[in-house]
């Protein structure tokens, strides 16, 4: 078991009160698993990713435990997390194209990052160059400023940087969203290649694009309004989902080969609830076509068949 998260609850502190962005999330990741984390904007997927690596204000830790390779991560304590970051757990942030220091040459910045971790950059240079080859970047990028690189190149450079110390867990947040389809494919396939070469053991790939996850992820976890809705293998989520939200979400996605004249798809009526004062029970209740009385209680996220977890009273 690479990662195990139990009852993780995180809120955002605002002037109007706590925004309950992540509520009692419990899940685990096998060694070598690439888990896709999907959901609409504001569902808490980035919050979950960030809370595992940098739980900084306005985020506030409420409850829960995180175990990485059977070692407890002190995610509530930013200082004590320091030895884990970059070495054990690493992140490719959202908008990675703007993640690099614009005033430093990329090579210089890389050296500074390594020195800050008390690692001799000289020893790493051959490895860095080997990995640049792998992501098809010329070695001369190290003597360039970030502004000289295209978006896709910057994205690949950040991928190399983030995984340089072979972390056990990599969190990749919306890394393909701002790229063109052809670059998107190359970057997504590089992630899989990184796992194959054991640069990273397991990954959480956060995106709103289900079709990318279908291509690269082993399993997919769906979130809705701060709660976990469903987790299962990729094939099961796409072809045989059980949570009503997942079903509606998957059926609303247009596929190549579907035309409006032949098959009119439908969206999900209504809007997600405000998380400042979320409804009690299942948060999808108001938009759910099969909701009933019991749904005023929070449904547990339980295993309905092997590796398939669903939080819905109708399914348990």
């Amino acid at each position: 078991m690479s990662l195990s998260v139990q009852n993780l609850t995180v809120v955002y502190q605002t002037l109007h009160g706590d925004v309950r962005a992540l509520e009692k999330a419990s899940f685990s990741l096998k060694d070598g698993e690439i888990m896709g984390l999907a959901g609409e904007s504001g569902c808490g997927k980035t919050t979950l990713g960030n809370s595992l690596i940098l739980l900084a204000p306005p985020m506030r830790f409420v409850d829960g435990r995180v175990l990485l390779d059977n070692e407890e991560l002190p995610i509530w304590d930013t200082d004590r997390m320091d030895p884990f970051r970059f070495k054990k757990i690493s992140v490719i942030p959202q908008y990675a194209m703007n993640a690099m220091n614009p005033t430093r040459k990329i090579g210089q910045m890389t050296r500074e990052i390594l020195q800050a971790r008390k690692i001799d950059p000289g020893h790493m240079m051959t490895e860095i160059k080997r990995r640049l080859d792998l992501v098809e970047l010329p070695h001369k990028v190290l003597d360039m400023y970030p502004i000289e690189l295209s978006g896709g190149m910057k994205q690949r450079m950040v991928m190399v940087l983030s995984t340089l110390l072979n972390p056990s867990l990599l969190i990749a947040d919306e890394i393909t969203s701002a790229l063109d389809v052809s670059t998107q494919k190359a970057v997504a396939e590089m992630l899989v290649e990184f796992r194959r070469r054991e640069f990273v053991k397991s990954m959480i790939v956060i995106t709103h694009d289900m079709s990318i996850l279908y291509q690269i992820a082993d399993s997919i976890m769906i979130m809705y309004a701060g709660q976990l809705a469903e987790k299962a293998s990729t094939e099961v989520i796409i072809h045989d989902p059980r949570h009503p939200y997942t079903k509606l979400l998957i059926s609303s996605l247009p596929k190549v080969g579907v035309k409006v004249a032949e098959k009119r798809l439908t969206g999900i009526p209504g809007t997600p609830p405000m998380l400042l004062d979320p409804p009690i029970g299942c948060r999808f209740r108001d938009r759910c076509p099969v909701a009933f009385d019991k749904c005023t209680e929070v449904p547990p996220f339980i295993e309905v068949s092997e590796g398939h977890y669903v939080a819905c009273w109708k399914e348990s």
């Binding site: 098809e136 389809v181 998107q184 494919k185 291509q215 439908t266």
Partner: protein, 318 residues
Amino acid sequence: MLKLDGISKIYRVGTFGSKELRAVNNVSFDVHPGEVISLIGESGSGKSTIGKMILRLIAITSGKIFFGDQDITALKKSELKSYYRLVQGVFQDPFCSLNPIFKADRAFNIIHEEFYPDVKPKEWKGRVEKSLTDVGLNPPHVLGKFPHQLSGGQLQRFLIARALLLDIKFLVADEIISMLDASTRIDVLNLLADLKSRGLSILFITHDLSLGYYISERAVILYRGCVLEMGTTDKIFSNPLHPYTKMLMASVPRLDEKWGDVKVELRAKTQDYSTGCVFYDRCPVAEPACMSQPTLVEVESDHSVACIHFAGNFNSSG
């Protein structure tokens, strides 16, 4: 109805404008009444530039755009207003389309003052409400609100309602879906389909092939400002001919099919593509003959491709 005849947009870049950048290069296609045509391309392919030239938001370097039989590139500022009664645009980021300081309704009031000053306020209110209902919004829910109080999907429909207040015949929809969430984007797409069935022509600009396929009858594939392939959506999707279109089709992530073993060429072979095929430097089947510019050739009815491999052998590829 709308006809683009060899339009180009050249930007002068570099020190003192010493270099030229062809954002759009000799693009021609037409849009028929009641038709949705998709303009598909990656970022930097010039698809938004074409949309903006149709809307006369940026100047056209060369070429002509005909709306009906009128050349709109020659319209003077005073004549533009009657053009805007018929042609309107909706853009990618709905929050940028409205001034955040004012309530969103101001967009409607401007239309009222500018285009229909004679309509009585009471009648106008009825029209606004009808237009909002048409796009699937509940008028009391959205009127009197500031832009930040509405969701992206609501605002996008709000802006379509604004365009519909004018009796438009043509809508430029520039990436209007990409900022929306999966559960609401399909509603906006369906709305476009409904408008189309009422006779509105739509130029649907997108980078997402599955959205383009869902909504449109015909598609135009753009790359670096040039049309590489165009025709009916069915033909382009079932039988892509241009190497670029093939690569595009193979890299689109699908929900029903895993990626095949198609290699994506990331590195450009040469920077010099000033002459010849724009796809030359990334093309897997490029040959020296590609250094001369290919022209768009019709290989079967309603399916044209600009690639020297299809020039001249009309029968072998259909």
